[in-house]
Symmetry: C2
Subunit: 329 residues, 2 copies
Amino acid sequence: MIRIAIDAMGGDFAPSEIVKGAVQASLELPVELILVGKADKINKELSKYKKRGALSVVNAEEVIANNEAPVSAVKQKKDSSLNVAVSLVKKQEAAAVVSAGNTGALMTASLFGLGRIPGIERPAIAGLFPTKKRPVLVLDIGANSDCKAKQLKQFAEMGAQYCECVMHYKSPRVGLLNIGEEKEKGNELVTEAWPLLKDSPINFLGNVEPKEMFAGEIDVVVCDGFVGNLILKYGESVSSFLLDLFKKELTKNPITYFAAFLLLPAFAGIKKRTDYDEYGGAPMLGINGVVFKAHGRAKAKAFKNAIRATMEAVQQDLVGRISKIEAKQ
Amino acid sequence: MIRIAIDAMGGDFAPSEIVKGAVQASLELPVELILVGKADKINKELSKYKKRGALSVVNAEEVIANNEAPVSAVKQKKDSSLNVAVSLVKKQEAAAVVSAGNTGALMTASLFGLGRIPGIERPAIAGLFPTKKRPVLVLDIGANSDCKAKQLKQFAEMGAQYCECVMHYKSPRVGLLNIGEEKEKGNELVTEAWPLLKDSPINFLGNVEPKEMFAGEIDVVVCDGFVGNLILKYGESVSSFLLDLFKKELTKNPITYFAAFLLLPAFAGIKKRTDYDEYGGAPMLGINGVVFKAHGRAKAKAFKNAIRATMEAVQQDLVGRISKIEAKQ
């Protein structure tokens, strides 16, 4: 049984949806979950479920909020659910940690507590984006605003490993996000990174533009954390801008209003296809331990999916595989 | 009358839609248009219109295609419609030039022929993006993949002038595109640019995230050309991805199919709101002359709008205004 530490107090719907997701995971997956946080609150939530699997509770009195500055919060709140959950991995009482809480704080606590995989210069946050076919893994989506070419190469290698281990994509196709397909296109960073990715033992297809990404013609897309975070936010903004325009058009007159009513199931179908929650969240790659950031808005099902991905990363020895690649270079 | 040189052979629908747009502009606006390109073809198009304003034709035998490498095309095809149109501005036979052709070639020919405004380090391409309110001007959207902080400051100043002169926005609100609102957020480039924009004589509101941009809370958004070009392409990809998903859902069963039929006018309304063609195209700012890149897919109406914007930039002495700002610093 794989032991996973759960930050039960992190996320918009903590602890209720986190505990609910953990209970579901404990019934469906070969895992043992350690729920970390205010014991009385967690036990109260647990008491709602008669049927549950291997679950235990570890008390932690403090909570790091989403709007807190990561470094000071991690340093000051030693007894926070997030810090204590990470420390269980450090003490080898758990094999991995999942949190839906403050992203920066989870990265900081993991770096302080577990460190980097030897050879990895910078850990990255990887996110799954919807496409016309299967999801694409994009990294970095926010851990590093300024990157060096070698770091992009390592992101590519880590992302390819994750796709293979956890997503079960065979020989994942890796692309470098760019504004053109030719290798001399783009800024200094990407033109410098191109030959490094070409020489790396990954299935590198070259530069990719956004349209190839959404066509589902690529599995891993590499970019610096400023660009990655920006396109994540930009995509969300374009989607909600278009939906908003659409709603306005739909409520213009009784005919469109009626049509909109008929289309409610279609809207639900699109929401499901584009919902980031469906994929559970984002792994933090390059940390010397399995750390998974569940979506801040994760409800039970999304959180259960996050636990499943985390379990697979442990089963497949993701950290060991990444270490081996870096050791060879 | 303002004399404007028109590259009649550039763009997907040249020369027919270009000539048609020019004829319309000649009837509606106080301009004198010089159509540059293959004289026989242009005259054949012109003969379709009985009613037309001040139009003349200058012959140029060559055409630069969209897929040609800009620098070599501009150097080799001296007698191309694009080169000859720019040279009319150089010889002061025209006050401005409009082309729907190869963007890189237009920038190159303009830089070679007209040079930069004294003090301006790099010219930028500015594009209008739709928002919930009035359009926002984004620059640079592709002329400079690597930028320095001072260049971003100049983009901000040029963009603000354009918005005031041509869009008639009073005291345009300028923002720096970023992944967070706090001034210490982002990569080295934007954190370095922030204080320069703050000290500049523009209405600088600080960092803006994509959601503020689409909310229409800002008039000018500044970024480097790699990021600008990427978000332009990313936005188009997200839109067509969503529309494609939607179409699939709509054709799933007879009820949704019927609803989709009822919604055709709504779709058209959205297309109009998000259509880049409506705004005519993108000015090239920082060139020592008024140069306007019409959209490659511009039809007559869009091309006429491009001519109108170009005329206003000349009327308002955009180049002179930008020169004055830079001379003061």
